[in-house]
């Protein structure tokens, strides 16, 4: 199938980075004729309910991450109460820049990452369209793990329990341990996980997924002696060095929730450590789907934030961007989907209601390398994995 082949190549080159990015969404985005999904006319009902406010109808392209948020009737009602009715369509973040077309650009884009937002910004600049960027919500990258695993990492001097149930892991030490191909049973005090498996963090497919690209950003940072990769040579060298951390995983899930699904349903035997967005597990816990005993979050030191970035391409959308960033109700509703907001106390309070312990304040956070560097590194990994 030509289209699939082409898509793979494009993915490799363009780099999914910054996209909510799983393949199927990408495919959908490429085939508008096949009935690309739309969340439809949201807020229509809510708008009628509150007829008092003059209604602004806005069109937007949104990432998968925020689709459930906009589908929530409470969000639609709150938007309607503030005079907004949205027509949104969900597409892959990395496809958004291509939709910046003079005269046909939607009012806004809500992309799942900084890099995709920058791409949109660049495209808009070239097309002479003014844009304003907001970042109403974000989520840190975390390792979903298990108490016995965290304990083993602690015994081996690379993790600490920062507060009850919340662990920190030294990224440099963990990366080195994995690059040294250490096995769990080789570690000190490993009786609780005395298995022959290599120590590896599970990710989704780096060729297709943003979260795995984030993992690449972190591990190359560690390999590079705690420096963000900024030049091609270093990118090549670092990516080559960490390629095994992806390749040695064997088959990787290539849809956004695959890795997390394995963590929650199959458990420690398959997935001792899973690299995920914090909001995946927080929203899971909030939906009371039942956390298993022993599930803990391990925060890499340092880690990365995944910012969900709102790009306003019209004056009306600027108002919406401000509203999403500042309206207490709309902000707090985002927390129901596991996202962090400016009001961190509210997030912490909400998370406490579940039995999942989260880190209240993240201090050690780095920025990802530039889009070009990421593309370079993903390309290297893609080649290594094909061998």
């Amino acid at each position: 199938m030509n289209k699939a082949g082409k898509a793979i190549v494009t993915v490799g080159l363009l780099a999914i980075f910054g996209a909510a990015a799983y393949f199927s969404v990408y495919q959908t985005g490429r085939q508008p004729a096949s009935g690309a999904p739309s969340t439809g006319v949201l807020g229509g009902l809510a708008g009628k309910l509150t007829g008092a406010v003059p209604v602004e109808e806005l069109s937007g392209l949104i990432a998968l991450d925020v689709e459930p948020y906009f589908q929530d009737p409470r969000v639609q009602k709150a938007l309607a109460a503030n005079g907004f009715k949205l027509n949104v369509q969900r597409i892959g973040s990395r496809d958004m820049a291509a939709r910046v077309i003079p005269g046909q650009t939607p009012d806004f884009f809500y992309s799942s990452g900084v890099v995709a937002a920058n791409q949109i910004g660049d495209a808009a600049k070239k097309a002479n369209i003014a844009t304003t960027v907001y970042s109403p919500i974000y989520t840190p990258m975390v390792i979903a793990s298990w108490a016995p695993i965290a304990q083993i990492l602690a015994t081996n001097g690379m993790a600490t329990e920062a507060s009850p149930g919340v662990w920190h892991v030294d990224l440099a030490k963990l990366t080195q341990l994995m690059l040294d191909k250490k096995r769990w049973k080789d570690l000190k005090g490993a009786t609780a996980y005395d298995v022959n498996k290599s120590v590896l963090v599970s990710t989704t497919d780096v060729r297709k997924s943003n979260s795995a690209a984030m993992y690449l950003a972190l591990t190359t940072y560690a390999f590079n002696g705690g420096e963000v990769v900024t030049d091609r040579d270093t990118a090549q060298k670092s990516a080559k060095a960490v390629a095994g951390l992806f390749k040695r995983q064997g088959y990787q899930e290539n849809y956004v929730n695959g890795n997390f699904d394995d963590y929650v349903s199959i458990g420690i035997g398959k997935t001792p450590m899973a690299f995920i967005y914090e909001n995946q597990i927080v929203s899971y816990a909030m939906a009371k789907k039942g956390l298993s005993p022993g599930m803990v979050l391990v925060y890499p030191q340092p880690t990365l934030f995944n910012k969900v970035v709102f790009v306003a391409a019209s004056a009306r959308a600027k108002k919406l961007g401000e509203l999403l960033s500042t309206n207490t109700e709309l902000q707090q509703l985002a927390v129901d989907f596991g996202f962090r907001i400016g009001d961190s106390a509210y997030f912490v309070q909400a998370a406490k209601a579940t039995n999942l312990a989260v880190e209240e304040r993240l201090t050690q956070v780095i920025d990802p390398p530039s889009f070009d560097m990421m593309a370079e590194m993903i390309d290297v990994i893609t080649r290594e994995m094909a061998q």
Binding site: S24, P37, R248
Partner: protein, 561 residues
């Protein structure tokens, strides 16, 4: 157990094939009950499901009642189904397989799948007759917990473990078992490559492989018959073995062994193929992952829920064993390809079979002769697709061609040369091209097929009896082969013995002739009921070639040999 019709679990891998190959791929292994036409109405949601999911068919009504979506399953063999999805020929809105990792690690396959959600879980485990588990010490949990695939392979090699397993070349369970042995013998589970394959370990494991088949219904039936005589273990999905234990049909229960650090779990992804049905898909998934369906699946089909609340509530249905360490799924194609080839051509017990071929006059009608000739030429041909490779005559194989019409003619014998001495030791897998000797014999088989002349009546039962007697004699001389009879007919028996006379003659054959199954191909105007009666006597299976190409049926049969 038959009622559950749960069978032939994911045949893993047709994704390895690069192209569609020569063959129509729409042939289900069994008379597939298609309850929905491909071009279904707007409100229906059609799902191409592997036939091991037949026990989940009541979900059609449950889903419709709960969501209004008219869910309709269409069942098919896994290999054909995988191939159908990959090539865009599925003609359904979704596909549901026990394991789709091969489909999804291939860009083309992946491109077909718009969304996917795992619905339930079942690991591949080893069920051992309780008495034999005791002999091995595996009745003690602390010992059982540490049993690796390597330990299992050694028990097979020493003759202590004689197991039933579906074909490693065509099934997920079979293939993952081989991978388990490879990983365990190599002392590593990640990044396995062809050079890690310890040939002696594989050869040892295969020594215990006594009951071959390609469908869990069939294997279970045979297992119940032969438990503790020819076989004492069954490697299959946990769900299947737990069901057998509950069925009350076993001579004794099976102790389930979860291979230490080598469990391969089927995760049953439901995959959306038709984007226009996204809305229905999401409704179906929401229902299937909800409490009602998950509880029903756990209780009725004994598959583990993915919904963790239900998993907690139904935990008592499943052995509460220790942590199950999952065997990573290797995406190394050279390893997978090489392992299957080596299994077929070196490791497996070589096949010895008689092809009973109807050359009666009616074969001249409607291109029937042509179909038979082509089918024989294909199995002696060079179809390099995965299904083709399985169908192909393998190294060391012995074939007797036994044509019959109103009389039984003399058998014509062919033997394919082996791959040379010392193959089953050392490390690694090398791909071998066909030797000159092998090519020569394959050519002779093709010439033989070409020379078939069709005339006269149909003395099928005489021919089958001759073949069985021949196989039985050969088996006594050379027990190191897997013997079977493949019989093909297109009409009613009108010459020679009738059914009653056949049965009487069969009853007079020595007892161990029962170890030789008869795979009967139903074609043309053949009498389905009579053929079923015949295999009920001899053991074996009827394959229906009235709606599918004869070659695709031959391919299926090869997986049972």
């Amino acid at each position: 157990m038959q009622a559950r019709q749960k069978h032939h679990l994911t045949r893993w891998a047709s994704v390895l094939l690069v192209t569609l190959g020569l063959v129509a791929c729409d042939k289900p292994t069994e008379p597939a009950k298609s309850t929905a036409s491909p071009a279904a109405a707007v409100d229906t949601f059609t799902v191409l499901a592997t036939s091991d999911l037949k026990d989940a068919q009541p979900l059609e009504k449950m889903v419709e009642d709960a969501t209004g979506v008219k869910l309709r399953f269409k069942f098919g063999g896994t290999m054909e189904s995988t191939e159908a999805v990959q090539t865009g020929q599925a003609n359904t809105d979704a596909a549901w397989f026990a394991n789709a990792k091969y489909l999804l690690s291939d860009p083309q396959g992946q491109g077909r799948v718009k969304l996917q959600e795992k619905i339930m879980l079942s690991p591949v485990v080893v069920g051992v007759s309780e008495s034999q588990a005791k002999v091995l010490g595996w009745d003690q949990p602390e010992v059982a917990r540490k049993v690796t695939w390597n330990v299992i392979a050694k028990a097979a090699q020493s003759g202590q473990l004689k197991y039933a397993l579906s074909n490693p070349a065509t099934s997920n369970q079979g293939f993952m078992s081989l991978m388990g042995v490879v990983a365990s013998a190599a002392q590593k589970s990640e990044a396995l490559t062809a050079s890690d394959v310890d040939r002696a370990a594989i050869a040892g494991f295969i020594k215990g492989y006594k009951l071959v088949g390609d469908n869990s219904s069939y294997l279970s039936e045979k297992f119940i018959e032969q438990q503790n005589t020819r076989v004492n273990a069954f490697i299959n999905y946990e769900s299947w073995l737990l069901s057998l234990n509950q069925s009350g049909k076993l001579k004794e229960k099976l102790t389930l062994i979860y291979p230490h650090e080598g469990v391969a779990t089927a995760d049953y992804p439901l995959m959306l193929l038709n984007d226009a049905k996204r809305e229905q898909y999401l409704k179906v998934v929401a229902y299937l992952k909800g409490d009602a369906a998950q509880t029903w699946l756990a209780k009725t089909t004994l598959r583990r829920p993915v919904n963790s609340e239900v998993a907690k509530a139904q935990a008592s249905l499943f052995p509460q064993d220790s942590m199950l360490v999952e065997l990573p799924f290797s995406t190394d194609r050279a390893l997978a390809d090489g392992l299957i080839n080596a299994y077929l051509n070196e490791f497996r017990t070589p096949i010895a079979s008689t092809f009973v071929l109807d050359v009666s006059g009616s074969m001249n009608q409607g291109g029937r002769r042509q179909q038979l000739v082509e089918a024989l030429q294909y199995i002696a041909g060079d179809d390099a697709s995965l299904t083709g490779r399985i169908a192909r005559l393998t190294s060391r194989e012995k074939v007797w061609m036994l044509p019959f019409s109103e009389q039984v003619y003399s058998p014509v014998f062919f033997q394919l040369p082996g791959v040379g001495k010392g193959a089953a030791t050392g490390k690694g897998l090398a791909t071998q091209a066909d030797s000159e000797g092998k090519q020569k014999v394959l050519g002779q088989v093709r010439d033989f097929a070409d020379s078939l002349n069709m005339t006269g009546g149909t003395a099928l039962y005489d021919a089958v009896l001759t073949a069985l007697v021949n196989m039985h004699e050969e088996r006594q001389k050379n027990p190191g082969y897997q013997y079977s009879v493949v019989a093909f007919t297109d009409g009613e028996v009108n010459k020679g013995r009738d059914m009653a006379q056949f049965k009487a003659a069969y009853a007079n054959l020595p007892e161990d002739v029962r170890a030789i199954p008869v795979f009967m191909v139903l074609f043309g105007e053949a009498n389905e009921a009579a053929l079923k009666e015949l295999v009920a006597t001899t053991g074996g299976r009827v394959f229906d070639a009235r709606k599918a190409s004869l070659y695709s049926v031959f391919k299926d049969i090869r997986a049972y040999q």
